[in-house]
C-alpha cells in the first residue's frame, strides 16, 4: 500500500484511496469523514463562503465564528480543505481536474441548489474509468420528487422517522441532531466502499446513487412494513413507549432523570416484579397480558410501576437492575455519556487541541481494527487552508496561476 499522508500513522483499511468531497451541511461531509477515518485521503471542496455547517454552531461562548462551529469541526476532521467557485466555467474546470485524479467523488449539493456543480457523471467516468461518483440527494436521480427542495427535517418526515416520534396529542418530531442525514451519509460511505471492492475485480468505477429519504425508509421500516401490510396499522405516535413489544418497554421518570426499561423475556419481567416486591396487581389477569398492557392500556399499566422508579435515583435503579439481570438503564445525558467510566476505560473519547479554542472532545472509534486502525489524525481545515498544497502540489499550478485564480474570485 502507498505511504500514509499523515506521517507516523499506521495505514487504515482505505489507505491510498483519494476522495474529493463537494458537499455541505451533514450528509456529504459525514460520508467524507467516514472514509477519511478509515484512511482515505479526502480533499474537501468548499464554496467561497464556506460549508453552511460553519454557521451552525455550537460556538465556544456562543460567539459565531466560521472557524469555530462545533458541527463543522466534528464533520470535517481528517480532511484537507480548498475553496472553489464551481458555478463558473473556470472553477468547474478546476473541479474536473481534481476529480480526474480521484478514486471517489462525493457530490451532495442537490440539483436545486445554486452551488450545484452540474457535472455530467458519465463524462467524469469516461475521463477517469476507475472513478466512483457518489451522488447524495434527498430523493435520488430519478422519480417525480427528484428536484424537490429538502432539509433534514423534510428527510426525517419523508423517510418515515418523524410520524411515530412524539406524543399522540402533539406534533411529530424530527430526529434530533439531524440523525437522518448521518444515516444517509454513512450509507453513502458504505456503498462507496462496496463499489471500491467491485472495482478491485473489474477495474471499473461507477455511479453510486443514494437517496437520503430512501435510506431511512429502507433501513428502518423492518417492523412497520409488515405491521402495515398484515395488520393494516399505518403508524401512530407512541410517546414514551415502543409500539411493538411487551410491557414494560418504555421511558419513565426517576427521581433525578429518566430510565429506559425493556424486558422481552418472561424471566426478565419476573425478576423485575420480584424487585418491586409483593404487588397485588400482578395477579390480576388484566395485568398478565403484557402485549395488551403495551398496546391497549399503556398509561394505566405504566402507572403501576412508575412510583417505584420515581422514588429512586437513576444510579440506584441501574445498580439494582444489573444485580438482578433486568434490562433497565439510565437515559444518559450527553455529559453523563462523556464522563461514563465504561467508555473512559475503553479509551473511547478523543481529546485534541484546536487552535484558537483549546481542548475539544470527539467521539472515538465506532469500530476497532487491530491491523488497520480508525484514526483521528488532523483537525478540520480552515477555509481554504490547503489551496496551495492541493492546487500547486497536486494539480501542478504555478504560484502565479494560483494568484490569478484568486484574483479572478475562483478560489
Amino acid at each position: 500500500m502507498s505511504s500514509d499522508p499523515v506521517a507516523g500513522v499506521t495505514p487504515g483499511p482505505l489507505d491510498g484511496i483519494r476522495v474529493v468531497e463537494y458537499g455541505g451541511d451533514v450528509s456529504g461531509p459525514f460520508c467524507g469523514r467516514t472514509l477519511a477515518d478509515l484512511g482515505a485521503d479526502v480533499v474537501k471542496v468548499e464554496p467561497l463562503d464556506g460549508d453552511p455547517a460553519r454557521h451552525h454552531g455550537p460556538f465556544p461562548g456562543d460567539r459565531p465564528d466560521g472557524e469555530h462551529s462545533g458541527l463543522y469541526l466534528f464533520l470535517n476532521a481528517n480532511k484537507l480543505g480548498v475553496t472553489l467557485d464551481v458555478t463558473g466555467a473556470c472553477g468547474r474546470q478546476v473541479l474536473k481536474q481534481l476529480v480526474a485524479q480521484a478514486d471517489v467523488f462525493i457530490d451532495s449539493y442537490p440539483s436545486s441548489s445554486p452551488t450545484a456543480p452540474g457535472l455530467d457523471y458519465a463524462a467524469l467516468i469516461d475521463d477517469n474509468p476507475g472513478l466512483i461518483v457518489t451522488s447524495l440527494s434527498p430523493f435520488g436521480l430519478t422519480g417525480p420528487y427528484r428536484d424537490y427542495a429538502c432539509y433534514d427535517i423534510n428527510v426525517s418526515a419523508a423517510g418515515g422517522m418523524s410520524y411515530g416520534t412524539g406524543f399522540p396529542d402533539r406534533e411529530p418530531l424530527s430526529l434530533p441532531l439531524r440523525q437522518s442525514s448521518y444515516l444517509a451519509g454513512f450509507a453513502a460511505a458504505l456503498a462507496s466502499a462496496m463499489a471500491l471492492l467491485a472495482r478491485g475485480e473489474t477495474g471499473k468505477g461507477q455511479v453510486v446513487e443514494v437517496s437520503e429519504t430512501e435510506v431511512s425508509a429502507v433501513l428502518l421500516n423492518g417492523y412497520h412494513l409488515p405491521t402495515y401490510i398484515y395488520k393494516g396499522v399505518p403508524g401512530r405516535r407512541w410517546g414514551n413507549r415502543m409500539s411493538l413489544g411487551l410491557f414494560p418497554n418504555c421511558v419513565l421518570p426517576a427521581s433525578d432523570g429518566h430510565i429506559c426499561i425493556d424486558t422481552p423475556q418472561l424471566e426478565q419481567y419476573q425478576r423485575f416484579l420480584q424487585l418491586l416486591g409483593d404487588q397485588p396487581w400482578s395477579e390480576n389477569p388484566r395485568y398478565r397480558n403484557r402485549r395488551a398492557m403495551t398496546e391497549e392500556y399503556p398509561e394505566e399499566s405504566e402507572a403501576l410501576i412508575a412510583p417505584w422508579f420515581r422514588e429512586r435515583t437513576k444510579a440506584d435503579i441501574f445498580e439494582l437492575c444489573r444485580q438482578n439481570r433486568v434490562p433497565c438503564v439510565p437515559v444518559k445525558t450527553i455529559d453523563e455519556v462523556v464522563n461514563e467510566p465504561h467508555l473512559r476505560q475503553r479509551g473511547y473519547w478523543q481529546e485534541r487541541q484546536q487552535p484558537g479554542i483549546g481542548e475539544l472532545t470527539y467521539p472515538g472509534p465506532p469500530y476497532r481494527f487491530p491491523r488497520s486502525p480508525w484514526r483521528l489524525a488532523r483537525p478540520a481545515p480552515r477555509l481554504g487552508q490547503h489551496n496551495g498544497e492541493v492546487y500547486c502540489g497536486r494539480l501542478g499550478f504555478s504560484p502565479g496561476e494560483l494568484t490569478r485564480l484568486h484574483q479572478a474570485g475562483v478560489v
Binding site: F167, E209, H224, D262
Partner: protein, 419 residues
C-alpha cells in the same frame, strides 16, 4: 456482475443488528450462510406471527417460517442448521470457516471462546479470515456484560435524552430499531473495509464493533457543545438554531388519520418565496402575516417563531399534506408530508423507484420487503431470494460445498449435530 460476488460470509447473528449487517452484504451479492439451530432459534423466528392463523405446533410448528420481520432481515441468505453445542457441529463450522471470508456475530463476550470458535480457532483453519464481532457495549470495560436491546443502547448512547419537545418534555423512544440499523451499517462497513485491507495486504483481522459506541459516534455536535460550553444539549423538538419556520404543521387529515407537513425555510430568499406560495394558494387577504415586515429577516423570524408557527398552522390546516408540499415545492421551498409507512408504501415516487420489492416465500406467498438503501449503477444488487427456511440449504452447503456424504449428513442429523 455483483459487487461482493466473490465473498462468502458466515452469519451467526440473531435478532436485528448482526443479521442486518450480513443482509446488506447479501443484497450486494455476497454468499451469506446463516447458521441457525433448533436448539436455540433466532428470537425473530419465535412468537405468534402477524401473518396467517395456523397455530398448530406454535414455535415448534410453522411459526418460525411465518415471521415477516425475519424475512426482511434474512432475505438473500442461505440457511443451515448446525448445533454448536455438539462437537460434530463445531467441527463442521470449522471446515466451513476454511472456505469463508467473513464471520459476523453478535454473541456476548466470551461465548465464541467457549464454543471453540473464537478468532484464533478460526484463524487456524483460515489464516486471512475476517471476524466482525458486535457486542452491545464492547468486549472489555465494566459494562461489557450489560443486557442490551435497541432502546437500551439508545438510552446509553445519549441520543435518547435528546428526543423530545422544546419545552423540555422527554419522549425518548424512537419507533424503530435505530441503534440496530446504525450498528448493522458499521459492521458491514467494518467487513467491507477489512476485505479491502485484505485485498491490499493479504491480512485478515478481528474487528470489534461495539453497538453503543457506534451509536454515540454520530453525536459529535452535542459532544462539541459539552466540550466548548459545558452545556448538555437537551430536547429541542423541531427547532433548528438557524431556521424559521422549521416545524411539522397540522393539515386536513384523511378519513381515519391526521395529516402533517414538514416545512423548512433556510434563508430570506426562501422566506419571500414561501410568502408568494402562501398568497398564491387562495384565501387572499386572510394571510396578512406574509407581508408583516417583522418576519422579513431570519433573526427576527427565529425570535418570533412561536407566533409565526401559529399563522402557518392556520394556513396548513386548510390543505392536505401533499397539497401544501406541491404548492411550496413549486416555489422551491422545502416541504414534505410527514409520512406513515402507508404513505410511503403507496407513494408514486417510492413506487417508481421500486423501494418495496416483491419476493415469493414458499409458505407466505408474495411478500413485500424493503429494498436496497443505495444504487450502484453497474453492480446494483437485488432482492432475489426469500429468507431461508430452517435448514433449507443443509445439503447445498454441507453436502455440495463441504463434501459431506449423504450418509454422514443423516448420521449428523440423527445425533442432532445438524439440527
Amino acid at each position: 456482475m455483483q459487487a461482493l460476488g466473490r465473498f462468502r460470509v458466515l452469519d451467526f447473528g440473531t435478532a436485528w443488528a448482526a443479521p442486518m449487517a450480513s443482509q446488506l452484504l447479501a443484497d450486494m451479492g455476497a454468499e451469506v450462510v446463516k447458521v441457525e439451530s433448533r436448539v436455540r432459534l433466532d428470537g425473530l423466528r419465535l412468537g405468534r406471527p402477524i401473518v396467517g392463523d395456523d397455530v398448530a405446533g406454535g414455535d415448534r410448528g410453522r411459526w418460525p417460517e411465518l415471521q415477516p420481520v425475519f424475512h426482511g432481515l434474512n432475505r438473500n441468505k442461505l440457511g443451515i442448521t448446525v448445533n454448536l453445542k455438539h462437537a460434530d457441529g463445531v467441527e463442521l463450522i470449522k471446515r466451513l470457516a476454511g472456505q469463508t471470508d467473513v464471520v459476523i456475530h453478535n454473541y456476548s463476550p466470551g461465548v465464541l471462546e467457549r464454543l471453540g470458535l473464537d478468532y484464533d480457532a478460526l484463524r487456524a483453519v483460515r489464516p486471512d479470515i475476517i471476524v466482525v464481532g458486535m457486542p452491545a457495549a464492547g468486549e472489555t470495560g465494566p459494562l461489557s456484560n450489560v443486557i442490551a436491546y435497541a432502546p437500551i443502547i439508545l438510552a446509553l448512547s445519549g441520543l435518547m435524552s435528546m428526543v423530545g419537545y422544546e419545552d423540555g418534555t422527554l419522549v425518548g423512544e424512537l419507533q424503530s430499531a435505530w441503534s440496530d440499523a446504525v450498528a448493522g451499517l458499521h459492521a458491514a462497513m467494518a467487513a467491507v473495509s477489512a476485505l479491502r485491507h485484505r485485498d491490499a495486504t493479504g491480512q485478515g483481522q478481528h474487528v470489534e464493533v461495539a453497538q453503543w459506541e457506534a451509536t454515540t459516534s454520530w453525536l459529535g455536535e452535542a459532544v462539541m457543545d459539552w466540550a466548548m460550553n459545558a452545556r448538555a444539549q437537551g430536547t429541542t423538538g423541531n427547532v433548528d438554531p438557524g431556521m424559521a419556520p422549521h416545524n411539522c404543521y397540522p393539515c386536513r387529515g384523511g378519513e381515519a388519520k391526521e395529516g402533517w407537513v414538514s416545512i423548512a425555510v433556510g434563508s430570506d430568499e426562501e422566506w419571500r418565496r414561501f410568502c408568494r406560495a402562501v398568497e398564491s394558494g387562495g384565501g387572499r387577504g386572510r394571510n396578512r402575516w406574509t407581508r408583516d415586515p417583522r418576519y422579513a429577516d431570519g433573526f427576527r423570524r427565529w425570535r418570533r417563531r412561536a407566533e409565526l408557527d401559529d399563522h402557518i398552522r392556520r394556513w396548513t390546516r386548510r390543505f392536505e399534506p401533499m397539497e401544501v408540499t406541491q404548492l411550496l415545492q413549486r416555489f422551491g421551498v422545502a416541504a414534505m408530508p410527514v409520512m406513515t409507512i402507508e404513505d410511503q408504501f403507496l407513494d408514486p415516487h417510492f413506487r417508481q423507484r421500486e423501494v418495496w420489492p416483491e419476493v415469493e416465500h414458499p409458505m407466505v406467498g408474495i411478500e413485500w420487503l424493503y429494498g436496497l438503501a443505495w444504487r450502484l449503477h453497474e453492480t446494483p444488487g437485488s432482492v432475489r431470494r426469500h429468507a431461508p427456511l430452517l435448514g433449507e440449504h443443509n445439503r447445498q452447503v454441507l453436502g455440495e460445498l463441504l463434501g459431506v456424504s449423504e450418509s454422514d449428513l443423516q448420521r449428523f442429523e440423527r445425533a442432532e449435530a445438524v439440527y
